[in-house]
């Protein structure tokens, strides 16, 4: 059976779409910067920036370009365009001039109604040009003519039972409605002013151009990939996205990865920001997808205060979930506990009791005996000292991790503390090491030492013999 989606995809990817583009000079005022439907890049230019940059249009053009560049986040690009010119042209699509803008004020509408082009590729370039008050630019303009053959479906090529394709248009729009409804819970930040006026082939063509334009210039970040998958999922199934990934993303993805990226794209924007700041990786972030807003916010606050690697992120999340389950408390209660707040420098919520401190928190969850007390005291002292200094985020991450481990595995943590104390008291010399069995499950303790001569070997044997007489060793081995 011919997969019509694949046929369409091939036509777009094969470059035939280029035949439908013309290079034109376009007034920058006619370009709608507020529509970020096809924006893939993870730069920090939000709608706010766009608005403020748009305001630059009204700035007196007698200002020097240099003065404007100084405050512009796109200054290097703008400077380059200003001095060298535009090397890669933006790709635009001509849009219906009487489109309706969703959720925008009437004052906005007046300005927006002049726009007749939507950006597919080149958001930063257009913004940069606007920021230096350029009046117009050359651009590749996609003038999609539905009567033209390239993307027109030939019904004879569709198998009768290819219901998916037949419903593809309606699917796209129903999904748009879904996304529009999600706007209210802040899950989609991109605005898509013109999607309603597009048919699916045009949309597909634009989406793929937008993604490939970025992906073949540099590797996409995780969030860029996620946003791209979300765009593609409006008209392609996961299997097709995976099979076309090499052509579209410049790298291969399997279906599982596509699904994960799709899930990630649907998550809260605060999680997206954490990912973009490289404070949390995709895998750990996806573990949060089933939680409610309060719980996600608590995790986001925690991870915005610490830095750890992927495995430690997973461990921290897992421990928090499992501590909550073990102790019959909420995840928020675990994260907002005094001891964690003490470490991360606390502003998880406003209800902190200033009288509580690390010592109290430790006493609350752990019965401290004489031997482990000194380990706790040391930890406490270390935290207090560090909080005064302002401990770095990596160290905070390690402390949070250690604290959670202690709470999740109280007996094992205590055994490890006791072993550490006994080992210190055993006063082994630096070049002799004693390791316990992993998690104390086996019975074999391991002595490690290095020798470089027979004489040294004899000395080590003597030393080990002395250690063997120490009652502390018997205590450890028992």
């Amino acid at each position: 059976m011919v997969n019509i989606q694949t046929v369409m995809l091939k036509e777009i990817i094969s470059g035939e779409i280029r035949q439908k583009t013309n290079i034109k000079r376009v007034s920058l005022d006619e370009i709608d910067l507020s529509d970020e439907t096809f924006k893939i890049s993870s730069d920090n230019i939000s709608c706010h920036n766009t608005s403020s940059n748009n305001n630059l249009n009204s700035v007196n053009t007698s200002f020097s370009h240099d003065a404007i560049l100084a405050d512009n986040p796109l200054s290097s690009l703008a400077s380059s365009i200003n001095s060298i010119g535009l090397i890669n042209l933006p790709v635009l699509i001509k849009i219906n001039s009487n489109f309706h803008h969703k959720g925008q004020s009437s004052s906005c509408n007046k300005a927006q109604n002049r726009s007749t082009f939507q950006i597919i590729c080149g958001f930063r370039r257009v913004q940069a040009m606007k920021s230096i008050c350029m009046a117009d630019t050359l651009a590749m303009v996609l003038e999609y003519d539905k009567s033209h053959a390239v993307l027109e479906h030939d019904e004879s090529r569709i198998e009768p039972d290819d219901k998916y394709l037949r419903s593809i248009n309606s699917n796209v729009w129903s999904k748009d409605k879904h996304i529009a409804s999600n706007d209210s819970d802040n899950r989609v930040r991109r605005t898509d002013n013109h999607v309603d006026s597009m048919d699916v082939e045009t949309y597909a063509c634009c989406a793929i151009l937008a993604i490939t334009d970025n992906a073949f210039q540099r590797p996409l970040t995780v969030m860029e990939q996620a946003r791209s998958v979300l765009l593609l999922k409006r008209f392609l199934c996961v299997e097709d996205i995976a099979s076309a990934s090499y052509a579209i993303f410049n790298s291969s993805m399997n279906q599982s990865v596509v699904n994960m990226l799709g899930d990630l794209a649907q998550m809260d924007e605060s999680v997206h920001e954490l990912i973009e700041q490289e404070r949390i990786a995709m895998g750990p972030a996806l573990k949060l997808k089933s939680f409610n807003t309060d719980e996600i916010n608590a995790f986001v606050t925690l991870f915005s205060k610490i830095r750890t690697g992927l495995n430690k992120q997973k461990e921290i999340i897992t421990h928090i979930i499992e501590i909550a389950a073990r102790e019959d408390i909420s995840i928020c209660d675990v994260i907002k506990s005094d001891d964690i707040r003490e470490i991360i420098g606390d502003d998880i919520d406003d209800n902190k009791n200033d009288n509580t401190n690390w010592q109290d928190a430790v006493q609350d969850y752990k019965a401290v005996d004489d031997t482990s007390k000194s380990a706790d005291e040391k930890r406490k002292k270390s935290i207090n000292e560090n909080s005064k200094k302002g401990i770095d985020e990596n160290r905070k991450g390690n402390l949070v991790r250690a604290l959670l481990f202690q709470r999740r595995y109280p007996n094992l943590a205590k055994a490890k503390d006791n072993f550490a104390i006994n080992l210190r008291n055993l006063k082994l010399k630096n070049d002799v090491r004693l390791d316990p069995p992993v998690d104390f499950e086996g019975r074999d303790y391991t002595f490690t030492f290095k020798v470089s001569s027979v004489e040294e070997m004899a000395k080590k044997v003597e030393l080990l013999s002395e250690i063997g007489k120490n009652p502390l060793l018997a205590q450890i081995l028992s």
């Binding site: 389950a325 094992l412 998690d439 104390f440 499950e441």
Partner: protein, 384 residues
Amino acid sequence: MKIETLFMDSHIKPCEETDYIIEKTGLKPEYVKDSKVVYDYVNASDDPVSKGKQTLYITENHGAVIKQCPGTSHYTCCDYTILHTGTFCTMDCSYCILQAYFHPPVLQYFTGQEKIFSALDGLFAQNKTFRVGTGEFTDSLIWEKISNLPAKLVKKFAEQQSSKFRMPVQSGSMINPSVLELKTKTVNIDSLKDIDHNRKTVIAWSLNTPSIIKSEEKNTASLGARLKAAKKCEQWGYRLAFHFDPLVIYDGCESDYKEVIRSIFADASSGGFGILPESIVWISLGTFRFMPPLKQIIEKRFSHSKIAYGEFITGLDNKMRYFKPLRIALYQEIVSSIRQYAPDLLVYFCMEDREVWEKSLGFFPEKEGELGQMLDKSVLKRCC
């Protein structure tokens, strides 16, 4: 769970055995040429494990009928012999490893009782005690409601003395008799009532505390019902066994397990079932342990269960186990409690190491096969 769908291999000729199952399930079988049809049917479900419990597949066992328990590395095994009569279970215990063991998990009944009996004849001919169980890959007595196999097996083991392969001895008892152990969490014992079992069948119950039964052992019989059924079996002359496996560690578990032990032995006037220690062939203990993939299944299928969130470490066999001092502490409490009621009763650990044995029971069956021999001796003592 109720069986809702019945598949049967189309090449299996209808016989008394299959007719009995079809009649008891009250379902019209869908005949399949290939097991893939059944597996696809189960896998198409959002919850294949639940679907597998509701789907009975009458098929043949293409592998070995009798297998040795694979045990696990680094921990001491009891050298059990498995009689492979079926797979999976209609009950739904959160911790059940069968959820992760079969791909996909399907309730399978293996036809061909002649093949089973022939394999048993071969076993009986070896002049060696075998402890044979059908409860490794399924619950032994879930089948009692729809199959006559459990009752036939009891009779088969009872008749081993007269087997042409075995020489009776003077007293009429046998040298090295084999026993059948039917291990269950059900109370499906009715068809075992009037059988001349010759004390060659041990009916065993897996026991747990009422709170664990309620939270983790869905669709199983209550503790009271299990012990009541055990008492009945004792009255019918059967030998009994109890398996405290998995022991689950939670706040207050020690006193709860002690209460279960009291219920077994204390007489009716004290609220117990008064089961006599001499009726019990052995009691095994094993704390909860699991292959790591089971955790995700528990989290997905039993979202309210906390059983996977104990203080587990990775054991030497790469299974998750409770931190050893916690295991030892619980074992010590339970052993001590059993000893109060039955000082001479054989208590053993399923898959534990020397340290646990020594610290909890005071000895370790060090030699290869020594634990198995201890259990065999108990068979000779209680079942002859």
